[in-house]
Symmetry: D2
Subunit: 374 residues, 4 copies
């Protein structure tokens, strides 16, 4: 059973994550965590602060000599600015943010008490946890990437690219986009939005390869792999939509053009030539790559702020302004990779058990062998 909690406010002392259930004997490279943390801060369209700053994780527990020992792993990511106690009161809730509803729920007179936690800064903790889960998944040759497929209304054309082409091309792009021509137009859109004090959203895609068939289960509503992934991805700040495989497009096609016919070759077992299912059928991974697309709304803090109401005086006022990113879709994709990795690592451990990486691998290999004679 893999579980985790994050904690921390954006201007508090630090962000914190505790991850439990990782088997013992897994080598963890701190650089890998820091690399993912850095990726989360990148992307054309971020404020200047972001591009300069660089988060680093400190591991407080759970490792000895860089290796997991079965006990819970604590990550700390210090905040550069930890002046939370003294920061100015916020009375003008931002449309699109948790500010107002959170203030009402928790009965707070200062909305800063809400936004400090609801801020996407929290996702740094999840990216840290995700980096550990990716390390775990690497042991099984499971690999995950994200790339931007729509930004500010511009669509990237990547349907014909392989996993490794997308990785190569996207990682060379400051928008994590594998279509160079589209990226150029996206950048122009960002520049324009910045000038008008506006913000942009988009869509990122997650692809996970190397998964065995049999993760998740059809037997109960809350054990379906797609349900868990949908929750994980929708829980990302700014996410407003999640689709698996062909997703909303599957809804408008005929069945004969949606379902992925089944083939068999002795050398590779059962396989498909299409993947409209996005690697999940009946709530269970089917061995094909898992593909998910996530809609990210434009960020809620506009430099040219929207209309709001002062929660104290009830007078109309502009919404408060907290920071100056124009677009965070590439970063949201990095967070998407992380939460996908966490979800998949959990599904692997639920199916294969194991308290040492050696044991989990042994169980996994036994299953692969079983599949061969299925």
């Amino acid at each position: 059973m893999l579980r985790y909690l994050t904690a921390g406010e954006s201007h508090g002392a630090s962000l914190v994550a505790v991850l439990e259930g990782m088997p013992a004997g897994l080598k963890i490279a701190k650089e890998r965590i820091d690399r993912e943390l850095k990726r989360r801060m990148q992307g054309y369209g971020r404020g200047d602060r972001m591009r300069i700053e660089s988060d680093k994780a400190t591991i407080l527990s759970g490792l000895r000599k860089d290796e997991t020992i079965g006990s819970p792993i604590t990550l700390i990511i210090e905040n550069r600015d930890s002046s939370i106690a003294n920061l100015q009161q916020v009375l003008g809730p931002r449309p699109g943010h948790a500010d107002l509803a959170g203030g009402q729920k928790y009965d707070r007179a200062d909305l800063r008490d809400i936004l400090e936690r609801s801020s996407a800064r929290e996702t740094a903790a999840r990216v840290g946890v995700g980096a550990i889960c990716k390390t775990f998944l690497s042991e099984f040759d499971i690999d995950i990437l994200s790339h931007v497929v729509v930004l500010g209304g511009i669509e990237a054309h990547t349907r014909n690219l392989t996993f490794s082409q997308i990785r190569k091309d996207a990682s060379g792009s400051d928008l994590n986009c594998a279509d160079k021509a589209a990226a150029k137009l996206m950048r122009a859109g960002i520049d324009k939005a910045r000038k008008s004090g506006d913000t942009l959203g988009g869509i990122f895609e997650i692809i996970a390869t190397g998964l065995p068939p049999g993760l998740g289960s059809h037997v109960q509503h809350d054990r379906k792999l797609d349900a868990g992934l949908a929750a994980a991805l929708m829980s990302i700040q700014s996410a407003k939509g999640v689709e698996i495989g062909a997703g909303f497009k599957a809804a408008i096609r005929h069945g004969s053009r949606v379902h992925d016919e089944i083939f068999y070759l002795k050398s590779k077992g059962f396989f498909r030539k299409t993947n409209n299912a996005g690697g999940i059928e009946g709530g269970i991974s089917n061995g094909e790559p898992i593909t998910i697309r996530v809609a990210v709304k434009p960020i809620s803090t506009l430099r040219n702020p929207l209309k709001s109401v002062n929660i104290k005086t009830k007078q109309t006022q502009k919404a408060s302004v907290e920071r100056s990113d124009v677009c965070v879709v590439p970063a949201a994709g990095v967070v998407g990779e992380a939460v996908t990795a966490i979800e998949l690592a959990g599904a692997m451990l639920e199916k294969f058990g194991g308290d040492s990486i050696k044991e989990t691998l042994r169980n996994y290999n036994g299953y692969l062998k079983q599949l061969k004679s299925y």
Copy 2:
């Protein structure tokens, strides 16, 4: 804490649901449950069997004199055909279904052992649970509807209709669609698909009204209301996409055209003039109607079946054929209402506590009063 499990195979003795955590003192009308069960079976495009059959729930526990007493509620829905043991072996997995991946996971030589449980027949149990949760929500004047907005590629135009207009028009339609003209075209599409042995998918929309601000929470990934709803809706058989509010459309607009500005009137408190957020900001309900759209793929069993492989002989063969619906989008919407009701009832109980409906209502009313002076 509200929780539930369902059980039962589609040709087993019966479907079963156990729901726990419902406060005591709630009057339950069995007719209401049966009405929802019937709604789930309706819709132009269902096989003949469906339209004739009519599920009925038996309540085995949890009520006394038609009133909840705090203890777990068991619903049983008998299957007309309970010949599971004798039904013919299935060796040709259907593309799009859990058949193959489930067979591999659970190591079953007969895929019937999988499809009997993965079948959408299971959703009858969830609809029964949902009917009880709707009854609970009624006490707080929370109301939920679903309607079909896309079917077979035909889009219904309903954006300008009110909640009650949609309910009225959709409930008068055999496609649960509030746009008469669109419904006519949808029906034609279904007829055509039936002739070619094909199937159709679509999109349904859920609208929930009467919710207070403050359900769900921004403080942890797994407590966000939208994450929970996304999981619940994605767990419906055939669902491939979920979007909240403007969803994927929010991803292509500018921030200034997405976020819902905040207004205040003494008489009604804080409110919005738009609802692109779909009633949820920062993982918390904001008091506006919750709107969700769900993509439903065409059903996986085609009368004119797709290519598959015999799992025993490994020879190519046609996929097995289990039943003859062409389109189940309206029914999926009814299931969508149910799982939404369960999720929202759980969120209400988490926030307001209470072991009797009187207590939960008292706590709720105290909160409404608190909101007035916020």
Copy 3:
């Protein structure tokens, strides 16, 4: 992940249990379930009704051809008397029962609404679930027994008996007691208590053998095997105390006389010559038999009832009288076996994973081999 819910009132239609997470491919003998249900009803000291009646389970889901298929298993145990709606109001709460506190919590004017669920009749459902879990554990040669070690103040002398001697002697006793001489005195005590309209409690012991080292974990408070077992056993109606191994006696001895020294033989690996730890150290099974003792208070319904107060009139009155058992300690032991089996089956599945019994066994055997070279 193994989980289960029970439902049902003692005079409702039936008791219900849904168990989820059992791997596929496990043969279930309904006779085994019924045999355990019958054992729960036995024991000198039960009312006449009990000794005559005989519960039978009906399996509504989760099996096909008597074999698990991975989907949730539903057990139904019909009640002979299902007149719950018409049974007479209860206004005199019984000291020792949930009646009063439950009535206050759930705000019920008729305490029958509480006692129908709090009744130990519910444990029949748990015994049914336990029988399935015992079947699962048998695959790993894990065996569980209970026997009565104290009843009405009479202590049985069994410290020098082996597991199989205790099983043999206890199962031949109508008090499930392995000490014949003590049992005779116990019976006399019961007869005397019956005459005076009083009731008797006692202590039963659980012994589980064949467990591997490594179940449970030291890494988090809620993953300790002893914590889970303590909760499971304390949740039995009438249980007031739980001790593992030497338990309260360990608290009064010196450390040098409590801790079990460690030995090693190539043929058997690490082992102990004593077992004061009761098979659990640091929240983890250590490979020795797990031994637990549970204190069972005398049942709360006395034929010669205690003082109580009418909840409507607030006048002093005698507590209500529901049934006529004098002593249920042997039956409580049978329930103890069941909840222990459920807990241990869950711990096995958490460690070894697996969706088919073949897979779980393969993983388990891999671990045993690993232990040999530890």
Copy 4:
């Protein structure tokens, strides 16, 4: 929903706790946390190191201006010695500890990887969390104490003392024992055990007052308040037994002498004159003080170590020696208070809900009023 995780090794950087679900608006005094941490380190019989050292908590998240804001609270307790990476290998598992079983489970060649986490040092984190939960409970006038009732076989006589007398007398004692004469004998026992390189255990008692009736529930095995408390207390390092109220003594008395008769006075509502139930009937708090006794085995590290086996060479050797406490029963009691506070705070929040302390209190007061007219 209150939940928490702890992390940290005894010679790692620090101990960590994340607590989630605490309502907003609760004032937290860091001194109160530190005072509890200090209490955990006290007690005649501890090693010298313990009596000198003094843990201090740092709060990394969840508070602003010393007040909770609804978001998760992180506590860090730094270790004075954080040389975990370099500490010497441990090959001689200590009988009574997690060393061997943990090493086998997690497949560790160096048992230090286990004992660093299984060490009772972890309980500092729980005491920190408990201090916050005690602060929460104070708002409802719920109070919890622990005191030592047996140590090294010496029994304290405290049955006739009131809650406040016990608190006063125990807090003045370096053994947290309210019976001065007994404490003197206990100290002598400790001195003697120290001389012989041995260790002592004992029994502590928890008393919680001010609880309303209605916490926990009879409706499901895992919602019983006594089951939750049993798990929490049994999860304490060294705990081997838990009894509620009269506990094991209830098992040997007649029913007429065990169950607490029910009385009523308009001024105080329903009440009891005895409390053998220990405040819990049918898994529900009944409004009387909750009393629990916990058996603590002698600590497992003996200065005069027991026989063990080198896990590498398989040669007989003495168990490793980690530290030099003789007796930790008073400290275990402090941990017992903490985990009891966490469990009760969780039960309060489950019943009363609320996201601000104002809301939880309002709901609670509404319930108290309801009880008055019951």
